[in-house]
Symmetry: C2
Subunit: 197 residues, 2 copies
DNA sequence: CACTTTGTCGACACGCTGTTGATTAGTTGC
DNA sequence: GCAACTAATCAACAGCGTGTCGACAAAGTG
């Protein structure tokens, strides 16, 4: 437990190499057919070394994701602090932009379902914190219903994936505006805005 | 080409056996770690027989899905015929209910991304046909923008998955109503309805 | 009944996996 | 700097699922 602090520079180096190799490999040729041989080859490491750190490539992916997203997005809004979802959502969009090929590969058709769930857990609390303070939100049960959080989270995740697959035709800010318009006002508000805008 | 009509009863039988075996196996233990050995064993067929019909388990899954969904859902609305999405969406919900364990496994955390895309292609045209005739929809470009179709389709798919994972707390009709409320009026309309309802 | 197609069976090489034991390289505390 | 420790390397191994093959049996077709 005490040596779990990973102080040894070799461990840090090895995991960084593995992580970078994973991101590169995934961006190039996806995750599913990716082998541990390829990852370690790209990382210029021995295959056996991989197993000293991770059980399989899923575990490596999780570790990489937490490191990436942790460096980009502040930890989930603790207790309904941020009312405005613009900032965190925009940060999320710019983060996936930075690793566009990686996220495109991993969220797209050849993607990784459990990774999508991980991304959900990043988006979901943002939406939850927003809704729990929404203007009209004073329902008997204090928390917003799960359905609508699922609805919005799934929509955002899907649109992010679409955005990546289409080479990000809109800027992060524009995307956020579109998303928020649809979310709060629905199709009708969105189409109305399209006409006037 | 002429014998591609699959008239031979043995072919029909074999593919049916493989399809049923796949559905059962997936419902029990997911798709990812499922082997062709297991499928053919469950189907009481020889492993080599599998390769006479499909290249891999993905191909079998596609075939099964098209057969299942084709029998349940009418082919995608040809040219903006159905304005009301209630009927096809409800049919979709009842269909996935019928094979709940299968769809739960294949849409959930251990799911299959390319399958989700396939489901998208079933939902997407329904949404498109709806929006292209929506009351406020008279935008310069005749077709509804891709973003919003992606938004709604992803939301529906996510909610369907949530619905399955939570053992379908609401009926198909109730789900459709909830979905349509959020979709057309957005969060505000939904929360408003929650209060009064 | 002859002919064709499908399914069965055993076997094979292939590739990736996860692990092991011995060895080398690098790090830390004294 | 040296000794003790830990991490990384390397070769090798068995295991498993794959995809394919050829020979044979079984079922369908005209």
């Amino acid at each position: 437990m005490s040596n779990n602090l990973r102080v040894d520079p070799r461990v840090i180096r090895t995991r960084a190499l593995l992580g970078n190799a994973l991101v590169e490999c995934v961006a190039e040729s996806g995750f599913e057919s990716l082998t541990i041989q390829e990852i370690t080859a790209r990382a210029t490491l021995n295959r056996a070394t991989f197993y000293l750190h991770y059980r399989d490539k899923n575990e490596l992916l999780e570790d990489v994701f937490e490191r990436l997203i942790g460096a980009a997005i502040p930890p989930p809004p603790a207790e309904g602090i941020s009312i405005d979802p613009r900032e965190p959502i925009c940060a999320m969009l710019e983060h996936v932009s930075q690793y566009a090929e990686f996220y495109r590969a991993i969220l797209g058709e050849q993607g990784v379902p459990f990774f999508m769930k991980r991304m959900r857990t990043k988006i979901s609390p943002i939406i939850g914190a927003w809704l729990s303070r929404a203007p009209g939100m004073t329902s008997p049960a204090g928390d917003p219903p799960e359905v609508i959080i699922t609805y919005i989270t799934s929509a955002y995740l899907g649109v992010i994936s679409w955005w990546l697959e289409n080479d990000r035709p809109l800027s992060s800010d524009e995307m956020v505006e579109e998303l928020l318009t649809i979310t709060s006002g629905g199709v009708l508000a969105y189409l109305e805005k399209q006409k006037t805008g």
